[in-house]
Symmetry: C2
Subunit: 625 residues, 2 copies
């Protein structure tokens, strides 16, 4: 947005790079039990195996698709209008919500009445929904009532990725069993399984009734590991359009949820644009905006201001709130001798408030009031770790674990209200202390899903903290963490731009997928096996397309061997035509198979004879080239 005087609703455009289908990919929908329940997936098509390697056709590989309608050429995309309200009927049909005639939040009403904000406004047609008096509209509540919602069915289909078909094709046979660390991964995800996991609190479905545009997804350790991408502007950088671009770019590469961490101007308006255009759940940290409302003076925060902020955001459609209600007065002094004190913004705001007033945190004291709001809109808790370690020195200390124990208490209170909860986790933790975090979280919080930032396994690589944290993220994902909050290369240094967002997302897709493989998630290895088979058979385009980032893979290949012919070559630039181990290995395999060679017969019987035949028939190593 170069000029804020122009009206965003007239000029805003989605980035064209974000709406192109990925190469050799097409959007497919799996039909559910009702006509408006169509679950999107991405099908990656493959070429046939070269004739001299078997000539067989290779099946489409189905992958989980977070990109929403943006990558569907059939969809009409206009960010000025927002996405279609996919869940609109599902929500209304339950009969437990009412449409309000006006926004409940006083702040929202003031904002909407301010004509100077018109150029930035999304649109005004929408009226907020809220649970009818006495009703609870959380997915956990439905689950505990025994109701399987369309959201749950959607999720079951989505998580399965047509696993049964893959199984029937034999594609699961080469998968390693995995080591699940206590996760209970079923052979197939059923709607009932989803319901039960949500009822038990082991998984959450972040899905605000005011965010009908979202495609339901689930966060829990018995499902695919998810990742979150943070976006948001700050007082010194970025505009609304930049943030929308980061959203569409982030989900294109695989962000399962997005957190809008804006702290700059126009937080309210930015959020509206983001939610209306987001097919993935949107999380926020409401205390950031509440602090803006009191001019940045933490001591001036009050429950009333915070409460109005929660309602403001809930009626916009935020799906989960990070709330640092675990930072209690008595925890604060525990941080005094840390190397890096309190590094969470929310945590430090609350610590300051507690010390200044010498009172218990108002978030902690009003926790049940907060639950009342959450269940009226189905906003999920993401209980913030305000005292997470900001350096490896501070990992797993009394402050961190003291807060975690409080989060466990709060989980039980939220569950009493059938409010969905996940728990945020560190931070900076050396590798050998990661598992203790996961185990303690499972125990303290009765298996509520864990949602961690990294952890970063060392402090010494500013500029590469996507990697320092990707290592920890993969490990904690394996140990049972349900969602991994990405870290970009700019962590500690600046605000991520679009390229940083992509790097962070891809790094975290790697971590999450590595965790799925290590846990033994059924079907997780199908994509690895397909890609490796393509690699072995020199199907270069398939290798690129099956990867997490086809564009980068292709451009790296082309840097060394740019010609089209190189993409059908039976060698690559690392070794050149005379040295290709894949090529040699293929010949070994052909030979071994042709001769029905197996370990015993090879050693026992007429190998001399066979060897002579091979020498006569095979000749030089590379005669094909």
């Amino acid at each position: 947005m170069t000029d804020e005087i122009s009206y965003l609703k007239d000029c805003a455009r989605v980035d064209s790079a974000a709406v192109e289908p990925l190469p050799s990919s097409r959007k497919v929908y799996v039909q559910g039990s009702r006509s408006d329940l169509r679950v999107p997936m991405r099908a990656i098509s493959q070429s046939i195996t070269p004739t001299d390697m078997g000539g067989e056709s290779n099946p489409d590989v189905l992958v989980y698709d977070t990109s929403g309608p943006y990558t569907d050429p059939e969809a009409r995309i206009d960010i000025r209008k927002g996405l279609d309200p996919l869940r609109g009927d599902w929500i209304r049909e339950r009969g437990d919500v009412e449409q309000l005639s006006r926004y409940t939040s006083a702040f929202t009403r003031r904002r909407n009445a301010d004509p100077t904000l018109d150029p930035l406004r999304f649109f005004e047609g929408r009226k907020p929904l809220r649970a009818k008096a006495g009703k609870n509209v959380s997915q956990m509540h439905y689950a505990r009532q025994g109701t399987i919602t369309p959201e749950m069915e959607f999720i079951a289909i989505r998580e399965n990725l047509k696993l049964q078909e893959a199984r029937e094709r034999g594609l699961l046979e080469s998968q390693h069993p995995g080591q699940s660390h206590g996760a209970s991964l079923p052979g197939a995800i059923t709607p009932e399984f989803v319901r039960n996991e949500v009822a038990q609190g082991r998984a959450i479905i972040p899905a605000n009734i005011n965010h009908p545009e979202l495609e339901p997804m689930i966060i829990g350790r018995n499902f695919l590991v998810k990742i979150n991408g943070n976006i948001g502007n700050s007082a010194v950088s970025s505009s609304i359009e930049d943030e929308i671009e980061k959203l569409t770019w982030g989900i294109r590469w695989g962000a399962d949820t997005i957190m809008d961490l804006s702290t700059g101007k126009h937080i309210h308006e930015t959020r509206e644009w983001i939610i209306r255009n987001s097919p993935v759940p949107v999380g926020t940290v409401p205390i950031y905006q509440a602090l803006e409302k009191v001019g940045g003076v933490a001591e001036d925060l009050t429950w009333d201001i915070f409460r109005d902020t929660l309602i403001e955001q809930a009626e916009q459609g935020v799906d989960y709130f990070t709330i640092h209600a675990g930072v209690r007065l008595h925890h604060v002094p525990l941080t005094a001798n840390r190397v890096t004190g309190i590094v969470s913004r929310g945590g430090s705001i609350m610590a300051k408030w507690c010390l200044a007033h010498h009172r218990e945190s108002f978030l902690y004291e009003h926790f049940e009031d907060i639950c009342q709001i959450m269940k009226a809109y189905d906003v999920s808790f993401s209980l913030g770790d305000g005292l997470r370690p900001g350096s490896v020195a501070d990992a797993n200390d009394a402050a961190q674990f003291g807060e975690l124990e409080t989060l466990g208490e709060l989980t039980k209170i939220a569950w009493k209200h059938d409010v969905q909860v996940m728990i945020e986790g560190p931070g900076h933790v050396p590798m050998h202390l990661i598992k203790e975090n996961m185990d303690k979280q499972l125990t303290c919080c009765d298996e509520a899903p864990f949602y961690t930032l990294g952890p970063l396994v060392t402090d010494i690589a500013p500029g590469y903290d996507h990697i320092t944290s990707g290592i920890g993220a993969a490990m904690i994902g394996w140990y049972g963490c349900a969602m991994l909050c990405y870290v970009t290369p700019k962590e500690h240094l600046g605000l991520p731009n679009k390229e940083d967002v992509k790097t962070g997302i891809i790094t975290y897709k790697i971590a999450a997928h590595a965790a799925d493989l290590a846990k033994g998630h059924p079907g997780a290895q199908v994509r690895d096996d397909a890609l490796s088979k393509a690699r072995f058979e020199f199907r270069w385009e398939d290798q690129f397309n099956l990867g997490l980032d086809p564009d980068t893979a292709r451009s790296f290949h082309d840097e060394t061997l740019p010609k089209e012919s190189a993409k059908v070559a039976h060698f690559c630039s690392m070794c050149g035509p005379k040295f290709c181990s894949m090529q040699i290995s293929q010949e070994v395999r052909d030979y071994a198979r042709a001769r029905d060679l197996d370990e015993n017969s090879a050693l026992a019987t007429g190998m001399q004879e066979k060897s002579r035949e091979f020498m006569e028939s095979g000749g030089k190593l590379y005669d094909k080239i």
Copy 2:
């Protein structure tokens, strides 16, 4: 090299970017017991803590320095002349080597006599050294005789990084104890400890007597985890000068050893330039060059050609040889049903040879002959894993582990000759199968150091395999792997350029350091703590300079807040001035300390009073800004 007709010896220049000292860093030397034993380290200086945060001075941080004389402004660098022969006297003084009047290898002699190679030649003044008849010049041999060599003393000083000083300053107190998985990390490394580890075979010192230029280093799980960077041209890409540039660039960022994997033209000449200019050990895979000598026809390889290649390279000064002697005839059929067959170049060459001749591998059969060569020059074995898995599907299979068992047998044979051995490892391995690799290697190979490529924990991210493998590398380093072979973003796609080399090195420095932290290597956390303290105190320049890559950190910061003033600001671009959690946290700490607040007194006594004082004195949160 744009024009091969010009003489490299007249025009070759070192890249200026590779010889600048790193910012705020200076080369320091720790004097050993003899005047020519001066151990280089890098001292990173820090600024003082801001007055309002304590105003104390912050000590230099010493870091392990692989960059050799290149970053010493006092050193005269001329790659046409090569580095000074640091170890020349040490080697000669032992009285067990003789200078040969001419090169032993017939190939070398032909090469040296060929005038068409003059433009590419390094120089001809040097005469090779070899052990006198009946002598064994390996560091293992000396160690087993009870001799502490200057190399061992150098290493002890180098690994210690003046640990005692740091301990006396209290800098080790915040370090986590770590979980060593059976490694025996001493509180201080003594020359005797080095000697004993080498004598036991638990560590190796790759140090060919014909590579006197190298600064001794050690590879073993009771020492700092090391990393290797691969360079080398192929038939389709790269020149000698490019490779020298990758060498100096790689060691600048932390490569502990370099492998020259050239397979293209002028392998012999390229290697000479590399070794003469390398302060780190150089490894090769001799079978690559041997195959070139037989026109790329694996079946035509013979023991005589391979033997001459070993001697050719040993007399140039190669410090370790990857030798795939573990690929035996009976292993080959075990790979036939793999997803990706044999992916090691050396492994596939040997598999092809074995099948074609239906004979046991000549490397296996001549293993004792190879040992005779190794001990005459002190070349260390890096026993190659020719059957490593090339996909997660193939991880930990019968072929891989069958070969590993053979490598265990070969280790015992090498040790019989007092020849140093490390063992190469995979490859592609999902996280949950990594530890089995490490444990099995320790058992099969009697604790000989493990040297692994990655492992890559998933196959689905071509273009990002530095990350897929960095995850596995950090984990296996923690479990006990002694050296990690880097993987660059170009893995599977193309040859790495200079930037890829840097990315690979930094990623692997992260993995190695994370492993040191997790193992509890004494002093490993000093750099983390210093950087985190600098971060907390908004000493931006110190934060950049203490990191693995100051240049990237600084440029990322400057993208958002380019002005110099921003580098002394008490906030950063992520949050802006009004939202800085570090700032708030500092205030919390100041407050807590000023009031002598501790957990018990805070809750028990006059906090209301203190709180009021704070409110009166503190006022607004951000009045400093």
